[in-house]
C-alpha cells in the first residue's frame, strides 16, 4: 500500500510526460487522478495500521537491495508519524491541483514538476534507508526552482534562486552528517532500523547533531535560517506555496526528528536548550514580523515561520505531550497553511491582482467574494488555534509539553500565542472587515466585478476545511497512531521520551 503512493505518482508523471502537446489540457486531469489514487493508497495504508500493543510500530516494511556493493537498500515502511504525513501529502496534492486548475502556460511541465515534488515528499516520509531518504529529499529541490521561476509572481527569479540555494545549503549539511554516519557505522549500511541501535561516538554526535538538525531545520523554517521561506512563498504560484508550506517545510521537521534526533541522542541532549531557544525566537519573531506586513501573502508566509517554531519547540520538549503535539502541528499547519495560501494566492490575487491589505480592504470583499471571506475566516480561526480546529489540540499539547520541559520559555511561548491571535485578527479584519467604508467601494478602488469562485476552488477549500475541523473534533484518529510511534517500547524514538541521555 505504501509504495503504491510512489508508484501512482510516478505513473502520473510518466503519463503527463508522454502526453502529446495538443492534449496539454488533459494534464491536470491526469495529475488529479494520480493524486487521488495516491491519497487513496495513503488512506488504505493508514487504515491498515495495526495499533495493538506488542505489534512492531513500523509496518509494511519493504526491503529490496539497490546498490548492494555499498550497502544501499530500497527500504520503506511507516509508523504512525509517517502515515499521518503521507495523508497530509495526499490532501495537499489533491487540493494543490484543484487550486491550479487555471494554469494554462505549459500545463504539462507544470503538473509534471508538481507531481515530482509530491513524489519526492511521499518518498521521504516512507524511507527507512537514509540514502534513499536523502535521494527523495533532494528530488524536491530542482522542481521547486522551475515551478517558481517560470510560473511564479512577485520577484520570482530572486525568490526561486534564494529558496534553492538555501535548500541546497541545508542538503550539504545533511550530506556531511550522512557521510559521517556511513563511515562510522559498524557495518556498511544506511538502514535506519539497524543504525538506530548503534551508539555513535560522543565526539561525533556533538557536531553531527547540530549539523544535521540545522540542515533539516533550514527547510523546516528554523530561525535564523528561515529567510528563504517568506520570499519563496510569496514568489511561488499558489499550488507551490501550498506545497512549500504544507509539506515541504514538514520534510525539514520530519527529517530532524527521524534522523538527527533518533540517531544522536547524546548530541540532542547537549544541544537541546539552544534549539529550544532558536525555536522560541522563531515563533515570536514570525508572529511579530507578520504583525507588521502590508502584503497579505507575507503575513501568511511569516505565520508559517511562527507555526513551524511551535513544531521545533515541541520536538525538543522530549515528552510525549510535546512530541505528539509537534507531529500533530505538522499536520495541522500543513492543512491550515495550505488553505490560507489558497485564499490569498488563488481566490484573491488571481482576481484582484493585489495583495496589499489596505487595497484589498477597500474592495468590499465580503460582498464581492463571500466564499473567500468565509474560507479565510475559518482558516484564520484555525490558525489562531481556536478550540474545534486541529491547531488547538496541537498547540495546547505543545504548550503543556513546554511547561514541563522549559518552564521559563513558556512565558515567551504564551506571548507568541497572543501575538499570533493579534496578527491573524489584524489581517482578517483589515482585509475583509475594514472598519471605515463598510461595504461601499470608493471611487479609487472601484473595480470590475470579479469572476465568481470556481467549483474546483470550492471543492479544494471544502476538503481542507473538513480536514482541519475533522481533526479538531476527533483528534484521536491522528493522535493514537502518533502516540503509538513514541510510546511503543520497540519504537525507534522510544528513547526520546525515556530521557535521551540514558
Amino acid at each position: 500500500m505504501l509504495t503504491a503512493t510512489l508508484l501512482s505518482t510516478f505513473l502520473g508523471i510518466a503519463l503527463i510526460c508522454l502526453l502529446p502537446s495538443r492534449f496539454g489540457g488533459a494534464a491536470k486531469w491526469i495529475a488529479l487522478l494520480s493524486a487521488l489514487t495516491g491519497f487513496g493508497f495513503a488512506v488504505a495504508a493508514f487504515q491498515g495500521y495495526d495499533m495493538r500493543p506488542g505489534v512492531y510500530p513500523i509496518q509494511s516494511i519493504i526491503n529490496l537491495p539497490w546498490v548492494e556493493k555499498i550497502g544501499i537498500g530500497f527500504i520503506t515502511g511507516a509508523d504512525g508519524i509517517s502515515l499521518i504525513l503521507l495523508l497530509l501529502t495526499g490532501i495537499i496534492a489533491i487540493t494543490g491541483i484543484l487550486f491550479s486548475w487555471n494554469v494554462t502556460h505549459q500545463p504539462r511541465a507544470f503538473f509534471a514538476l508538481f507531481l515530482t515534488i509530491i513524489f519526492g515528499v511521499y518518498g521521504v516520509f516512507q524511507s527507512l534507508d537514509l540514502f534513499l531518504l536523502f535521494v527523495f529529499y533532494e528530488i524536491v529541490i530542482i522542481p521547486k526552482y522551475f515551478l517558481i521561476s517560470i510560473w511564479g509572481s512577485t520577484n520570482r527569479e530572486y525568490g526561486a534562486m534564494k529558496l534553492t540555494i538555501y535548500s541546497v545549503a541545508g542538503s550539504a549539511l545533511i550530506l556531511l552528517g550522512l557521510l559521517g554516519i556511513y563511515v562510522l557505522a559498524p557495518e556498511a549500511t544506511f538502514n535506519l532500523l539497524s543504525l538506530a541501535k548503534y551508539k555513535f561516538p560522543v565526539a561525533f554526535q556533538l557536531w553531527a547533531f547540530p549539523v544535521m538538525f540545522l540542515g533539516f531545520g533550514i527547510l523546516g523554517g528554523l530561525w535564523p535560517f528561515h529567510t528563504w521561506a517568506p520570499t519563496g512563498h510569496v514568489a511561488a504560484p499558489t499550488a507551490v506555496s501550498m506545497l512549500l508550506a504544507g509539506v515541504v517545510m514538514k520534510l525539514g521537521s520530519y527529517g530532524a526528528l527521524r534522523v538527527a534526533m533518533t540517531l544522536f541522542p547524546l548530541g540532542l541532549d547537549y544541544w537541546r536548550m539552544p534549539v529550544a531557544i532558536l525555536a522560541t525566537v522563531g515563533l515570536l519573531y514570525g508572529a511579530l514580523v507578520a504583525l507588521a506586513q502590508r502584503d497579505l501573502k507575507f503575513v501568511v508566509g511569516y505565520s508559517s515561520i511562527n507555526h513551524m517554531g511551535f513544531v521545533m519547540l515541541g520536538l525538543v520538549t522530549l515528552n510525549t505531550l510535546g512530541l505528539s503535539g509537534a507531529v500533530l502541528q505538522m499536520f495541522s499547519h500543513g492543512i491550515i497553511g495550505g488553505l490560507l495560501f489558497a485564499v490569498v494566492g488563488r481566490m484573491l490575487y488571481d482576481r484582484t491582482h493585489t495583495r496589499d491589505i489596505s487595497q484589498l480592504g477597500g474592495m468590499g470583499l465580503t460582498k464581492a467574494l463571500p466564499f473567500a471571506a468565509l474560507t479565510f475566516t475559518v482558516a484564520s480561526a484555525a490558525s489562531m488555534g481556536l478550540p474545534g480546529f486541529s491547531g488547538f489540540i496541537a498547540e495546547i499539547s505543545i504548550l503543556l509539553g513546554t511547561w514541563k520541559a522549559f518552564p521559563v520559555l513558556l512565558i515567551f511561548t504564551m506571548l507568541g500565542v497572543v501575538i499570533t491571535v493579534a496578527f491573524t485578527l489584524r489581517a482578517l479584519q483589515r482585509t475583509f472587515f475594514p472598519a471605515h467604508n463598510a461595504d461601499a467601494p470608493t471611487a479609487e478602488t472601484a473595480h470590475e466585478p470579479f469572476d465568481p469562485i470556481t467549483l474546483p476552488e470550492r471543492l479544494g477549500a471544502l476538503i481542507l476545511m473538513t480536514a482541519t475541523v475533522g481533526v479538531g473534533l476527533f483528534p484521536k484518529i491522528l493522535l493514537d497512531p502518533i502516540l503509538r510511534s513514541f510510546e511503543s517500547p520497540q519504537s525507534l524514538m522510544h528513547h526520546l521520551i525515556q530521557g535521551v541521555a540514558k
Partner: protein, 518 residues
C-alpha cells in the same frame, strides 16, 4: 608464439586504431563533400568498433616487459571507456564546424586515442611519459584546428606552451625518482625501502611529477590553460580533452600514486600532516574545488562554465584518489567515467547550439526549451548531474567519492582525518548549483528574444546526446550497471592487497590506512 607476436596480439586494439587512422588519411585524399565525410566517419567508427571487439575478445591478463604493457580487467575497462568516448567525439566532429581536412581531424582523434589507451595500460614511468606525449601532441593540433579562428590559435598556443612546460616538469620529476630509486617500473618502485622516500630529492621528484599530472587533469594551480582551450578549441576537440584524456589521466595518476608511490603518501590528516604526496594532493584538490567553483560563478560562456566546472570536478576526483584504497579507486573510476559522459553530452549540446545559433554564450541558450525541447531536457540532465543532484549519476558518483575519502582515515572513536577536505568539497558543491542553474535558467526560463527558428532535422549528434542523457539517468537510478564491472575490475588490482596487509601488521586500527593517531 614468441613474445613479440604476443605483444602484437594484445596490442591489437591499438594497432587497429593506428591502421584505421592511416586508412582514413588515405581515404581523405578524395575531395571533401558531405558524403565523403560520412564515409570517413563510418570508416573511423568501424575501426573503433573492431578495436573494441578485440579488446573484449582477448580476456587474458598479461604483463609485458616488466609492466611496460599491461592488460588486465581494470585496464580493459578503462580502455573501453576511452574508446567509446573518442568515438562519440568523432561523431560530434562530423556535425561540427570542422569542415576542412576532416580526414586529418579524425586521424588525429584516433592517434590521441591510441596514446590514451597505452597510457591506461602501462605500469612503467618511461612508458607513462611516452604515452602521455602521444596523447597530448595530437590534442594540441586538434585545439588549433580552426585555422581562421584566432581564438582557436590562441588556445592551441596556450595549451602547447603550458603543456610543453608541464611535460618537462613531469620528465624531470620522473628522472629524479629514477635517479634516487634506480627503477622505472611501478612494481619495483613499490618495493623500495621506505627510508628512500624521505630523501628530499625523491620528494622533489614526486612533487614535480604531480605538477605535470596536475596540468593533465586541469587542477589548480596548473589550470590556467583550461578555460581558454575549452572556449577556443573546436567543440569536439574540447570534448575529447575534457572526457577521454581525463579518464586516462586519472587512471594513470591513481596507479602512479597508489601503486608505485604507495608508501610515500605521508598524511593529509588535519593537524597531523606528514610529508608525501597526500598533503600535496589535498592542497591541490582543495584549491581546485574552491577556485573552480568560484570562478565559474561569473562566466557568461557555457563552454567556459564547463571549463571551470571541470577544474572543480577534478578537485573532487583528486579527493577520491586520496583514499588510496580499492574503494577510493572504484569511486574515482566511477566518477570520472560518469563525468566524462556528462561533460561529453554537455559539449554535444553546445556543438548543436553553436551550429544553429552561432555561439555558446549564455544568451544563445535562451528559449532552447521552445525551439528544441528534447535538447533542453538533455542539457537539464547534464547540468543537474554535474551539480550532483539525485536521481542522476553525478549524485551517486559524488556520494561514493566522498564516502570513500572520508572513510579512508576514520577511527572508531569518531575521528575523521579528511573531514576538513570534505567540508570544503561539500560546501562548494552547494555553491556550484548556482551556476548550473544559471545555465538552466537560460535554457528553460528566459524566453528567446529571436523569433523561433524552424525545427532542425534530427542529427547524429542530437541522437548521441539523447543516449548520453539516458545513460546518465539510468546510471543514477541503478549505479550497479557501471559500479559492478568497476568493482570486479578493481578487485583484480593486486597492489592494494599487499599494502593493506602491510598496514594491518603495522597498525592496530583495522580501518585506518594512514596513521592518524601518531
Amino acid at each position: 608464439m614468441n613474445s613479440t607476436l604476443l605483444l602484437l596480439k594484445f596490442l591489437a586494439p591499438e594497432s587497429i586504431l593506428a591502421d584505421t587512422a592511416l586508412l582514413v588519411l588515405i581515404a581523405g585524399l578524395v575531395k571533401s563533400t558531405a558524403s565523403s565525410r560520412n564515409v570517413l566517419l563510418s570508416l573511423t567508427l568501424l575501426g573503433g568498433l573492431t578495436a573494441g571487439a578485440c579488446l573484449l575478445y582477448f580476456p587474458d591478463n598479461v604483463n609485458f616487459f616488466h609492466g611496460m604493457v599491461v592488460l588486465d580487467p581494470l585496464t580493459r575497462l578503462v580502455k573501453l571507456a576511452i574508446l567509446i568516448l573518442s568515438l562519440v567525439t568523432a561523431v560530434f566532429a562530423a556535425g561540427s564546424s570542422v569542415r576542412e581536412h576532416f580526414a586529418e581531424y579524425l586521424a588525429l582523434i584516433l592517434f590521441s586515442t591510441i596514446g590514451m589507451m597505452l597510457l591506461a595500460g602501462t605500469e612503467d614511468l618511461l612508458m607513462i611519459f611516452i604515452a602521455l606525449e602521444m596523447t597530448s601532441i595530437p590534442l594540441y593540433i586538434l585545439t588549433g584546428y580552426l585555422k581562421k579562428s584566432s581564438a582557436s590559435a590562441e588556445a592551441a598556443l596556450k595549451y602547447f606552451l603550458v603543456g610543453g612546460v608541464s611535460a618537462a616538469f613531469l620528465l624531470f620529476g620522473l628522472s629524479l625518482i629514477y635517479g634516487v630509486t634506480g627503477c622505472t617500473a611501478l612494481q619495483d618502485l613499490a618495493k623500495v625501502p621506505p627510508a628512500t622516500f624521505r630523501d628530499p630529492l625523491f620528494l622533489a621528484g614526486v612533487v614535480m611529477a604531480m605538477a605535470g599530472f596536475g596540468f593533465k587533469v586541469a587542477a589548480v594551480p596548473f589550470h590556467l590553460w583550461a578555460p581558454d582551450v575549452y572556449e577556443g578549441a573546436p567543440t569536439p576537440s574540447a570534448a575529447l580533452i575534457a572526457s577521454g584524456s581525463k579518464v586516462a589521466g586519472f587512471l594513470i595518476l591513481a596507479k602512479l600514486l597508489t601503486y608505485g608511490l604507495a608508501k610515500a603518501g605521508g598524511s593529509a590528516v588535519w593537524g597531523a600532516m606528514q610529508p608525501g604526496w597526500l598533503p600535496v594532493l589535498g592542497l591541490i584538490a582543495a584549491a581546485s574545488i574552491i577556485v573552480g567553483n568560484l570562478a565559474a560563478l561569473s562566466q557568461s560562456n557555457v563552454k567556459r562554465i564547463l571549463a571551470y566546472s571541470a577544474i572543480a570536478q577534478s578537485g573532487y576526483m583528486l579527493l577520491g584518489l586520496m583514499a588510496a584504497d580499492k574503494t577510493g579507486l572504484s569511486s574515482v573510476l566511477f566518477y570520472v567515467i560518469v563525468y566524462a559522459l556528462t561533460t561529453l553530452g554537455a559539449f554535444g549540446v553546445c556543438a548543436i547550439v553553436e551550429q544553429r545559433r552561432g555561439g555558446s554564450q549564455l544568451h544563445h541558450f535562451e528559449g532552447l526549451h521552445q525551439s528544441a525541447p528534447g535538447l533542453a531536457l538533455c542539457m537539464g540532465v547534464f547540468m543537474i548531474s554535474l551539480a550532483g543532484i539525485p536521481p542522476l549519476a553525478g549524485f551517486f558518483g559524488k556520494f561514493y567519492l566522498f564516502a570513500g575519502a572520508l572513510g579512508s582515515v576514520a577511527t572508531k572513536d569518531g575521528h575523521m582525518g579528511l573531514l576538513w577536505l570534505l567540508i570544503i568539497a561539500i560546501a562548494f558543491n552547494a555553491v556550484s548549483l548556482y551556476y548550473y542553474l544559471i545555465v538552466l535558467k537560460h535554457v528553460f526560463v528566459i524566453p528567446s528574444s529571436a523569433e523561433p527558428a524552424p525545427r532542425s532535422p534530427r542529427s547524429a549528434t542530437g541522437t548521441l546526446v539523447g543516449l548520453l542523457a539516458i545513460a546518465i539517468f539510468a546510471l543514477g537510478i541503478y549505479p550497479g550497471l557501471l559500479l559492478d564491472p568497476i568493482h570486479n575490475a578493481v578487485k583484480t588490482a593486486t597492489w592494494f592487497a599487499a599494502k593493506a596487509a602491510a598496514i594491518a601488521t603495522s597498525a592496530a586500527q583495522p580501518k585506518t590506512l594512514q596513521g592518524t593517531t601518531k
